[in-house]
Amino acid sequence: MSSQSKPMISRRQFFFIIVQTEIGVGVLSMPYDLHGIAKQDGWISLLITAFSLLIILFLLWMLAKRHPSLNFFQILERVFSKWPGKFIIVAYIIYFTSVSVLIVLLFGRMLSLWVLPSTPFWVLSILMVSVCLYLTASGLKIIARLYTSLSLFLFILIFLMVFCFSELEILYILPVAQSGWINIVKGANEGLLSYFGFIVTLVIYTYVEGKPKDKFKTVFWAHCFVTCFYLFVVLVSFTFFSTKEIALVQEPVLYMLKSFQFPIIARIDLFFLSIWVVSVATSFATYLFMTGMGLQTVFQKQSSILVTLAAISIFIISIFFGFESERLELLGNVVVFLGYAFGIFIPIFTLCISALRFKAKKEGGKQSE
């Protein structure tokens, strides 16, 4: 793998890839989920999640920095040697696939609840998978370019929520820390689901231009941006609905926007939802891309057939799984659990092994290229 043929992306594009991957399907239900455990202190839980993730992101960066010319899957192969490495990559592929399936299912459920009650799920699933496959097959550079320009939509989302400012009631989040610190820390677990895209920083790290330090700065600011965005969403929902109300509304942001009407247009929630579709598609496309990348590393082949196969299997699994609440919740829990394993423990474990194996020759990664 020569560094010449690699598709390089700029740090600004890296920033937007992180942002677009992290902000996704979770943004609508996150306030509700946080509130379920930490009550009105959910925003503190969110901050705790964000802060602890920052440490993890730092560790991921350490790992990536040790092998600057390899992508994450190649690092795995190198650190754990060939066959065990391949085994772990396959595990990652399964993890990414399950996250993708979860995204499609949550997306399908949300749409069928809000706008398209009688549309069969496979139609939505096939649309999502095919559009994202088209994007993913075009390569990282195109993905990066598209995400950068699509980020305009995030500002439209914020802008739509600004309309509610006149109705906010700060008193609703008081008293602070009433639900007890144990619940607040437990709530941090709920916030994690919305951040799961962070693994992308490690996977595409090697394709970003610039010095390691600058790259970490980009990761840091992207993380801050996402946290601010989430915090904004959470605070707006928490202050718009009272503590009792919010327990009844699963998608507080949409219900909030639904109550507003303008002279030319009513139901801004439908517009919010339409833009949210794009955010979901970007997250999904990144997972699909990472799955494809993993498959390419395993089979040592650069071909879009592998990504297509991954997309088709995601589509088939999602149809057979269906989105009944209970099964979906089960899948959600499994994915959160896997997220701890694959997003946090395995990378840190890899970092330790890498530190032990390559202690003596620090430049090992570079020399082998």
């Binding site: 700029s10 559009v131 088209y134 075009s138 195109i142 370019r145 320009s149 303008f262 030319i264």
Partner: protein, 518 residues
């Protein structure tokens, strides 16, 4: 003759080999210019017989015997200008002997008969004399040119009213007059094995990216067809992605537009016999710029440009949006409007999807009928189609009032684009979006638009991203995309064409500082 046959076959094999070699490296000379080896004989009659047999005894090939049959002029009477022939050949030797013809100032010589046929076909007259192998030839081409007029489909309010014509030399002249610089380069190519069409590429050396120039040259020399009629043919042979609905080269008939683009580091491709020139590499937003923008105050220029870009969204999205609203998201309509909208669509028998498709197709019919007919009849069609059908169709209760408004607005919006190619693309893209909106509402539209956005981001024109400066984002180039800031602030060329010289101007309003400091 057997010898000749063998000889020619051998030659053509060699030619094939050379053609293969050209695939790997750019030839110094395009392969059609390889000289063939039939040299002329000292016998006048042999030469003339050879010419006639090669030209298949065509009726308009004339021989004029001079000096009691010891010399002859050969020419296509349909290609030469007899007055020019008179002036160049007969007037100077009026008093002297025919034998002085080869010494005339305008003459050129060669000895290759096959080359001579090419000259003959491009309107030269050949002179042969007995006992000599040399062929003397004179350029006496007759050309019948349209005068330089304003192009009908690219009118401007202010600015130059000149437009290209069908003659390539006139066209290059129009550009050279606008750019008086020694680095303006014109390169000629002959394309089309039978038509032998003259193609020119024009660019600024030192501004245009040599890599892109090389790419265009390579792709033009690779064209191997019998007929090349117009830039439309060339476009399909050299563009990056033929399966995309979006035009990847800008078509224009305006010399000022071409020269402005050349100065931005782009390359113009022109062809003999067509007033349209192609500009490459192109970006999506170039199709929304018009020379008029730069002849207005910049506020107005910006305003008009924003209107054009809004028209893009209207043209591809409005019918889809309307269908999604009336068939899926009726609640989007505010309370006060619900009654009028509902009463308009209530009695219509067809679903909105069918209504929209019927109306959009009717508009396309009227448009196509209007273009092909002579202009007075075309207007009648417009009135009959637009007013009569539009009115009657509503009264008959087939189509709702609102749908007529929506479709009419869409049609108008699609004509706002200054480029005909992009305008047709937009009208074509309306259909998939209408279907998506009719089946999935807003979600369908969103996926449709996302697909188009991905496609635009993916598309490249000669290795240059098509959707620049949006993707990849280049903040500096946005100043001539959505807005048109004052010209003195556009001191850098847009990055998308990879100009080798970025700075386009230095301080042009220095006088203001000087005056203020006094």
């Amino acid at each position: 003759m057997g010898f000749f046959k063998k000889f020619l076959v051998g030659k053509s094999e060699q030619g094939n080999k050379q053609e293969k070699a050209f695939e790997h490296e750019l030839p110094q000379k395009p392969h059609y210019a390889q000289p063939q080896q039939m040299s002329s004989s000292a016998q006048l009659s042999e030469n003339i017989d050879y010419l006639f047999s090669q030209c298949k005894q065509t009726g308009d090939l004339k021989v004029r015997a001079l000096d009691d049959g010891r010399a002859a002029l050969v020419f296509y009477e349909t290609l030469v200008d007899h007055e020019k022939m008179q002036k160049k050949i007969f007037a100077p030797i009026e008093m002297g002997h025919v034998g002085r013809i080869p010494d005339l100032p305008n003459s050129r010589q060669m000895t290759n008969l096959d080359e001579a046929i090419k000259k003959l076909l491009s309107g030269h007259v050949l002179y042969f004399d007995e006992d000599s192998t040399r062929i003397t030839y004179f350029d006496v081409t007759a050309s019948f040119n349209r005068s330089v007029e304003e192009p009908v489909n690219e009118k401007v309010v202010r600015g130059s009213h000149e437009g290209f014509v069908e003659n390539i030399k006139t066209n290059v002249n129009l550009i050279r007059k606008r750019i008086e610089d020694k680095s303006l380069v014109v390169k000629y190519f002959k394309v089309g094995k039978k038509t032998n069409t003259n193609i020119a590429i024009v660019y600024m050396n030192g501004i245009a990216d040599p890599e892109i120039v090389r790419k265009i040259e390579q792709r033009i020399t690779d064209i191997s067809v019998d007929m090349v009629q117009s830039p439309g043919f060339i476009e399909e042979f050299i563009e990056d992605s033929t399966s995309s609905p979006f035009p990847q080269m800008l078509n224009t008939e305006r010399p000022d537009r071409v020269s402005a683009n050349i100065m931005e580091g782009r390359i113009a491709v022109m062809a003999e016999g067509s007033p349209t020139s192609l500009i490459a590499p192109s970006t999506f937003f170039m199709f929304y710029q018009s020379p008029d923008d730069y002849n207005m105050r910049w506020y107005t220029g910006t305003f008009i440009r924003l209107i054009r870009l809004t028209s893009f969204l209207i043209a591809i999205g409005l019918p889809a949006f309307y269908i999604a609203v009336v068939s899926f998201h009726f609640e989007v309509i505010p309370d006060d409007l619900i009654v009028p909208v509902k009463s308009s669509i209530n009695d219509i028998a067809y679903p909105p999807l069918v209504e929209a498709l019927v109306m959009v197709i009717i508009i396309e019919l009227i448009r196509e009928a209007g273009i092909r007919l002579p202009s007075p009849v075309g207007q009648t069609i417009g009135i009959v189609g637009g007013l009569v059908i539009g009115d009657a169709v509503v009264r008959a209760g087939l189509i709702s009032n609102l749908m007529i408004i929506v479709v009419a607005l869409t049609a108008i919006a699609s004509f706002v684009v200054p480029s005909n190619e992009l305008s047709t693309t937009l009208r074509l893209l309306t259909f998939p979006l209408i279907f998506l909106a009719g089946t999935l509402g807003f979600v369908g539209i969103m996926f449709g638009l996302l697909f188009i956005a991905i496609h635009l981001t993916k598309l490249e024109s000669f290795g240059v991203p098509y959707f620049a400066p949006i993707a990849p984002l280049s903040l500096n180039d946005l100043k001539d995309t959505f807005v048109r800031i004052p010209l003195y602030k556009m001191n850098k060329r847009p990055k998308d064409a990879h100009p080798t010289k970025q700075l386009a101007m230095e301080e042009s309003r220095e006088w203001k500082k000087n005056e203020q400091s006094k």
